[in-house]
Symmetry: C2
Subunit: 253 residues, 2 copies
């Protein structure tokens, strides 16, 4: 009972969708796979991880996974599809906080306030593993590898938050954004040079604190410079070193 390619209509590049393995090794690209490996796949604790996880979805493009103010009970690992998180201020202006790809986890910023401080919106058809956080905390107390993994995930997200920091030109920001996406796809085993942008130009612009028109212009310029090939949302990186060069001030050394 596996729905194969829920996002549909991506002819050329392989769609980045985490293919679940069997029931025990349920997520090849799962956010917790490294914790499982460290703990040893066959330890009894793993069975507990099985118990506290719940597969949810599909969510269609535009649907909310959670909303600002919802009580925090669980974190969500993206199994397939893409998610944006965003805050909406009282004047109704949106601020995109991040995009989350298969294998990444949303909801960690809700632990402290105990309510979600932002919305999570599916950008295409999306499935999740839902982890009850109380159960996960209890498990973390007994399995050091799980605790360590949670600490690491939280710390990692702290680091990525500073990708936005600094005042940089539109070119630098867009180049760094593309290279960041490429790296994250590569880390999960997808192509690092050819992928689909699930988010609109407006979302990219908002995330990078630019106008949609500026993003459009920069992408056109990158294309005319031979750095990328782009048609609609299908993207190919023709010159990753060149892009890295352009965005280097924003990228991890």
């Amino acid at each position: 009972m596996q729905s194969k390619h829920p996002a549909g209509r991506l002819p050329e590049p392989p769609s980045p969708i985490a293919d679940d393995g069997d029931e025990t090794h349920f997520c090849g690209t799962c956010a917790f796979s490294s914790a499982c490996i460290a703990a040893g796949y066959h330890k009894p604790e793993l069975a507990e991880l099985q118990c506290l996880v719940e597969h949810v979805g599909p969510f269609r493009a535009g649907e909310h996974i959670f909303r600002t103010g919802d009580p925090f009970r669980a974190i969500f690992a993206v199994r397939s599809g893409t998610v944006k998180t965003r805050m909406v201020d009282k004047e109704g202006r949106e601020q995109v906080l991040g995009f989350y790809l298969p294998g990444e986890v949303i909801g960690l910023n809700a632990i402290y306030p105990e309510h979600f401080p932002c919305d999570a919106v599916a950008l295409d058809t999306t499935f999740f593993c839902r982890f009850s956080f109380p159960a996960m905390s209890a498990l973390a107390s007994r399995v050091p590898a799980v605790q360590k993994h949670l600490f690491r995930m939280l710390s990692k997200e702290l680091g990525s938050a500073s990708l936005l920091a600094g005042d940089h030109s539109a070119d630098e920001r867009v180049a760094a954004f593309l290279m960041d996406l490429a790296g994250r796809y590569a880390a999960r085993g997808f192509s690092a040079t050819r992928f689909h942008l699930s988010m609109s130009r407006g979302d990219i612009a908002n995330y990078l604190r630019l106008a949609a028109e500026t993003v459009s212009r920069v992408l056109s310029r990158f294309r005319s410079q031979g750095l990328i090939q782009i048609e609609g949302r299908e993207l190919e990186l023709l010159d990753p070193p060149g892009l890295r060069q352009t965005g280097q001030a924003l990228l991890p050394r």
Copy 2:
């Protein structure tokens, strides 16, 4: 053997310095006080917290607590003084990531990379509690309150990272910055309307992604509008509601 006011020469406002209590209740404003209270002050686990903490300092203004690339072994809670964290890119440009006041914790973003991804620099004379992270993790496994507290601290910092997000005017940013500081001082029991800015205009500007001149101009304008009184680094908020109004788009609802 308590050095009284290491920063010196602050005649009017009470200097924000955490006064240690006795050896058992060692930090009234400590970053872990809530964890201690939750665990119960007299539980044996508290003695362990005592064991893994080490008081370090003083660091003088400009001295490094840690540097980019240093191996990660501990986190540091500010006992007194102020710290900035910053990254320096290969062109030598500095990016200030944050300011840390008494009771706040630095180093959490180093858990994942296992090396510090940034420098921490004292802005005035500063003392710390140093917590060995391996020991702290081990303790967290046995004391749920400690684990919970670590999760909450990490998650809280994730939230504060998005104070910078969004593209906002210089006025909004500066107002939000001042109100944020005020709230953090208030949370630790210091005056929320009158305090000392330990960081230079340049550091503020860098953190807010503005030019130092712009920060200077905005502060002058706020003074002429009767929102603040400021002389050098001594600041008094005359109209907190007005400032909150100005910075509302950036501030938590």
